[in-house]
Amino acid sequence: MTSTAAPTRGPEASARPRKPAPSWALWAGIIAAAAVTVWSALGIEFTLVPFFTDATRGWFVIQEFFAPNWGFIFQVGNAWLETLSIAVLASLIGCLLGLIAAMMASKVTLANPVAHQAVKWVLSVIRSIPDIGWAFLMVAFVGVGSLAGILALVMFNIGIIAKLTSESIDAVDPGPIEAADASGANGLQRARWSVYPQVLPNFLSYSLYVFELNIRASIVIGLAGAGGIGNVLLVQLGRFAWENVSAIFIATFVVVLAVDLASQAIRRRIA
């Protein structure tokens, strides 16, 4: 693909090197992407016409939106505390379970090839169900309320943490593992004393990411009836109470920003 043909003139002449031709894989990729784009655009009936014809309708909502009901922000303080609590507990449980799952999904810490492959499969199944899917399932399993929210986020977190951490585990320095093996450590001891200390900074950093994600996701799980601010949002939307939705929106913005800043500060110290 890349040009290896020597220039026809002698080496002393500064011939221009031949331009490398793009590989067939690139062309195939571009054609495939274009095909998928056309298929998708037809499938969802893509058009921007309403943007020009119906923009006034949107403008009306935006206008209402810019008159937020400030009092409402404090009225729903309890729902926010619930959302934050759900996120804290789900992050804690989900990340601990995720760490264990990650250890079991790596051949470094679980030598049995069948076992770690099986764990990997279970994890990709867990990951492939979207957060809202888990929320629906958990609401069905344990009923409406924050317990369902916690359980749904725990499943969601296990999927993310296990994937990120197991890749860190695969990349650990083999030295300490050999040292642990040489001193006769069993599998658990090796995981605890040679792998865990190496992945701990990464793991903590991922856990904070997951916590940030959970704040946003807990709005989502509220849509399925799993507690927190999402429930409040759903009710206000149903009533078309834009001034209250707008208040929730502003509060979301502030809370997410605060959590992001705090977690970034902590992450900088860890990493």
Binding site: I44, S85, S128, I129, I132, V142, S146, Y209, D260
Partner: protein
Amino acid sequence: MTAATRPTTTMKRPTPPSKWPHTIGLLVSLAVVILAVWLVDANWIRLADLPASIGNYVVLMGEGLTHNPLEVPWSEYWVLATQRMLESIQMAWIGTLIGAVLSLPLGFLAARTVSPAGVVFVTRQFLNAVRALPEIILAIVLIMPIFGLGPLTGALALGIGSIGTLGKLTAEAIESIDPGPVEAALAAGARPVQRMRWAILPQALPEIVAFWLYRFEINIRASAVLGVIGAGGIGSLLSQLFNRREWEQIGITLVVIILVTIAVDSISGAVRARIISGGGRKLAARERRDEASAIV
């Protein structure tokens, strides 16, 4: 302890680093967790019922799978779930494309090595603001009043939602390029646009395209959420099915979600690996970090 018996008295053990920051961190975390347990109004007793009810519902869902998928009511369920899942993928694809097209120029504006400091600051604040908003709020407020309910609304919401992360990651990819080609372009008298086109973009593009693919995978999952508020796709189907508690059909739908998602993820992962190894500059650790931030 063992040092006491050694004859070498001049060798002093280094003082161990202070454990206070660690202890304080642990105590604060513990306090936060206790506060959370105290604040949350969870019905913990229901946890005891969990194994039984999981078993119960899994059996119900499994029944949907044991029926012959070619017979009439069941074949319709399989086809419906697949159609809706494909609609979600279409939403996610168009959304990612919109996000990609809009975030590329923003990425250049947010890159410290390309744009003046003032522009970088403003663009970064804008990207942070987009990142802080859940797509669902964007969908409800900005797009639904204009475009109504449907997959198009979902795609637009995903597109705008993608700008935040894609813009930030694009800027970082641009900042981390090798400055050599840029200097070469400067030496050859290239204007800023020519420098971007011929020195910066070819270096950063493999990484940027890999981020687009990450985002596509994430958007497929995110589209399920938008579906619940009426943007079509698999989310709408799930929400209808759970409202009607049609467990057999839910089982079929979940299997379709799992299979299609894993298939798309592995194809996209393979393409990504090829793109990145073709670029050949990235380290595994760097890629993992980027993946983590792509999720956010």
